[in-house]
Symmetry: C2
Subunit: 335 residues, 2 copies
């Protein structure tokens, strides 16, 4: 197995991606191809001890930045670390690709370079949503701002396979995000989506209200990419706000500071519950290949975990399963 | 000034609403009309000392429950505490109405009994969203699951007036919830809404990402009712999850329990920052009358604060201002 890592991607570039790769090589013994600027990558690699035969570098002259326009970047920057990486997967020279780079460009690359799976109208991002019960999958995490009812069905099928195979959840409860529990609630699209999902083969558990997402009421949370983005970013924002407010309250005087020191490990455990870096990245499900988007602000641990996740993704043949189930669905439900 | 309180509304009925009314009477000297079952209301009133001349009871034989279908309930239960109360406002026998009852029924009642303001396509709920900077207004909080671009403009106009007059925010920053900051981001509706809001007279500050809502980046947060509902309920769910997880961590052993005791007041201050009961209820803006929806689980303090809020609502002539600004807008932007 060979996994490509876009070494130039993410807020910290090779300084973080290379360390993540080294740790994954040493821990899991996976073969990794690093695409990007050879000089910068080698400079980082020199800092560490690792099994050298496991890491290969493919030099690229270009780089896609967060300022690049997604579609144009994929079309024009043919020698970028991202496009070169995607082509390696397309040409079966690698089994999976991970990038922490420009999200829009990576998704466009997934669509244009790898291509959609036949029968899938809208591939979608499926990040892990940490809950008090463990972890759920949210799909779509932001790839498609506008969705049709049929897309929810696809999201349910793909999310269900991913939750069962990668998160190891038995018979995942698949739910549509809605503004009420009962059938008939919601906007025009979610009402129709509900009806379609009721006929699906996965364990459709009805609507989930946003209030019940953090406590893990749904294993697979399906929604359009606009709602998914709001859920993910609001969660991030609230967590950050709560931590900073708590910190302020807990350091207001010496006695409180002392008490807070005692609770430090408790606070740490608490933070860990909601730590996305534990889970790696978000797969882009519905394209013909294993593509994982790592968070732009990923640290080395998050990159390492994304590599572990990519390995599972390949081994469990998630993409093959999606192809099969979408094929079984037939074209009769496509609008 | 007379304010009607639907005494039967809310999870706890007269036990809570009557106490809230008594406290408001004693604290603010407002005249209150309680609609509902006279026996139940009098039984509660007997428990307290208050200025008797300030509270009037109008007996109603019916009650709208949370199980009732909204539109049918408003049409059929003519002698319910909610419909009787709405009619008092319509007939100018009262200046405002507050109910903690069935939300759907109350909104339907606002539309059918009070009626929309001319030029407003979709009246909307405008709850307060507590932030670290104080408070923002979120509009629409759940009245309209499907919205057109024009509705966002209306929400902006109404939310702006409310934030300036009731929350006392100078030149409120009005923002549309979106999945990116830049113009051109979002789904089809938010893209169009952005263009309309750019031409508005209020201080349109562009898009706000959900991540930046809790830190108070926007004073008026405009979105469709589906997104608004997701934001409010997710916030509630995350806060509840975080508090229960913290509690678990902080009571894991005796030493931690001791330390947590020292931090108790800090935790209390922290909780207060995000306490909706401080702010009363959510006005239903865009109808011809002052209508406030209190949270179903309101305690007496929340009811008292909703009454104080209704008083300000009447005094500051929010509805008149909305009528004026919508009128100035003219019909040229109506689709």
């Amino acid at each position: 197995m060979k996994i490509v890592l876009d070494a130039m991607g993410g807020d910290h570039g090779p300084a973080v991606t290379v360390l993540g790769a080294v740790e994954a090589v040493n821990e899991y013994g996976i073969n990794i191809i690093l695409t990007g600027n050879r000089d910068l990558i080698e400079k980082e690699l020199k800092k560490y001890d690792y099994l050298e035969s496991y890491i290969e570098i493919i030099h690229c002259n270009e780089e896609i930045t967060n300022e690049d326009k997604p579609v144009a970047a994929i079309r024009r920057k043919k020698d970028s670390s991202m496009v070169v990486g995607l082509n390696l997967v397309k040409e079966k020279k690698a089994d999976a690709i991970i990038s922490a780079g420009n999200t829009g460009a990576l998704l466009a690359g997934g669509l244009f370079v790898l291509g959609r799976i036949k029968g899938i109208d809208r591939p979608a991002l499926a990040p892990v949503y940490p809950t008090t019960k463990g972890a759920s999958i949210l799909i779509d995490g932001g790839a498609n701002a506008d969705c049709k009812p049929r897309n929810y069905l696809e999201f349910g099928i793909m999310g269900n396979i991913y939750a069962a195979k990668i998160l190891g959840i038995h018979n995942p409860r698949v739910c549509t995000v809605n503004i009420g529990m009962e059938e008939g609630k919601g906007n025009d699209v979610t009402k129709e989506a509900y009806k379609l999902c009721q006929k699906a083969k996965f364990n459709f558990a009805g609507n989930v209200e946003a209030r019940d997402i953090p406590s893990g009421s749904a294993d697979v949370i399906i929604c359009d990419g606009f709602t998914g983005n709001v859920i993910l970013k609001l969660t991030e924002g609230i967590a950050a706000t709560i931590f900073s407010t708590l910190k302020e309250e807990f350091t207001r005087n010496t006695l409180r500071k002392l008490a807070a020191t005692i609770l430090k490990s408790g606070l740490k455990d608490f933070k860990k519950t909601f730590d996305y870096t534990e889970y790696g990245g978000a797969p882009f499900l519905g394209v013909q290949g294993n593509l994982i988007k790592a968070h732009g602000s990923s640290n080395a641990k998050a990159i390492k975990n994304a590599i572990r996740q990519a390995k599972a993704f390949v081994e469990k043949e998630v993409v093959k399963d999606i192809m099969q189930q979408i094929n079984e669905l037939g074209e009769d439900t496509v609008e």
